[in-house]
């Protein structure tokens, strides 16, 4: 028997992150269409606003969380040898955490001029 864990919580995480990703994408696309930045300085100034920056950081958090649940599901469905699944899930975790650290490092440097 498998130890029950990560049922409802991960499902919720997947749904909530999907909802945020959808809303963010619509909002981001709308901004690019309605008020496109003329140059890099304008684009930078827009992203550097605290609330836009927060929205971006949340976007990346939601994206990584969504990828984690999705890849976990793929491994659970298609990778049957337990050791291989363990290695893959661990590697995925390390990769996602590294990406998260990288994104935070980048976003930290984005400050209003």
């Amino acid at each position: 028997m498998r130890v029950p864990s990560g049922g409802l919580r991960t499902w919720e995480l997947q749904r909530v992150s999907a909802g945020y990703l959808a809303l963010f994408t619509i909002w981001f696309a709308a901004h690019l269409i309605l008020d496109p930045p003329a140059d890099y300085q304008q684009w930078y100034a827009w992203v550097a606003q605290p609330w836009v920056k927060t929205a971006f950081i949340l976007f990346f958090v939601a994206l990584l969380a969504h990828v984690w649940v999705g890849m976990r599901d793929v491994f659970m469905d298609y990778v049957k040898p337990v050791w291989l699944r363990f290695v893959l899930r661990l590697s995925m975790m390390v990769l996602l955490l590294a990406m998260a650290a990288w994104i935070l490092q980048i976003m930290q440097r984005v400050v209003p001029a």
Binding site: G7, L8, W11, E12, D73, M76
Partner: protein, 234 residues
């Protein structure tokens, strides 16, 4: 249509090294003839062909088959609707015992695990446990399941995780008892389904809805179980 061609999956583990498809031809096909009638006639020609069947009218759920790639009941599938040669295979994802007969043990283990009966802790009342007409209406679309296995064996999530995932048939029945106003085991039923496998392997592929010969909707029932779980922890 006066004649029909069939291609039927054959496998006898005592004789055959592997499975193979065997061709048959039937003449004098009557309008309105069902696949089960045809299989019975084929068995008159070749008595080694093995398949399950019983009531012949879509009530017992014995003759679930994979017909031209789609799960359904042989007894209520008219031959005229089928492209020829009619390919008949056992239910997918299940161990074959012989020819079209599969081992349904795992399917019924999942069914048993959801406790398919009322659990009430209150002392037995003098009369029946009563329900209002509205409460009874909530069981419509749930109680009609005949446990033929068409849905569960067409579900990719069940193919990938046949031991862990309960499958649409068992989960529909789980909701049937969760939705019952007389049942008092909601928390136990929900915690039994927690974890990544038993309930949450469902990815809303909806093959189950597509093939159910009784027109039921297991995907919707699974969604209701998830909603109830959410409400339960909030």
């Amino acid at each position: 249509m006066s004649s029909a061609r069939f291609s039927i999956y054959r496998y006898n583990p005592e004789i055959d090294g592997g499975s193979y498809m065997q061709e048959y031809r039937l003449d004098d096909i009557q309008p309105g003839m069902m696949l089960r009638d045809a299989l019975l006639r084929i068995r008159e020609i070749d008595e080694t062909l093995v398949f399950r069947h019983s009531c012949g009218e879509g009530v017992c759920g014995s003759d679930a088959l994979n017909i031209n790639g789609r799960n359904g009941l042989g007894c209520i599938t008219p031959l005229t609707d089928l492209k020829q040669p009619i390919e008949v295979r056992p239910l997918p994802g299940m161990p074959v015992i012989r020819d079209l007969v599969v081992d349904m043990d795992r399917f019924f283990e999942h069914y048993r695990s959801i406790k398919p009966y009322l659990v009430a802790h209150d002392p037995e009342p003098e009369v029946e446990r009563l329900q209002s007409p509205d409460e009874r209406d909530r069981l419509d679309g749930l109680y009609e399941c005949i446990l033929c296995g068409c849905c569960t064996t067409s579900c990719p999530s069940f193919w990938w995780n046949p031991d862990g995932f309960r499958g649409p048939a068992a989960l529909l029945q789980s909701w049937r008892f969760l939705a019952d106003s007389r049942d008092q085991a909601t928390a136990e039923r929900l915690s039994e389904l927690e974890g990544p496998y038993r309930l949450f392997r469902c990815r809303s592929i909806m093959n189950c809805v597509e093939v159910c010969p009784k027109g039921l909707n297991p995907t919707k029932a699974i969604g209701r179980i998830k909603q109830t779980m959410l409400k339960h922890i909030l």
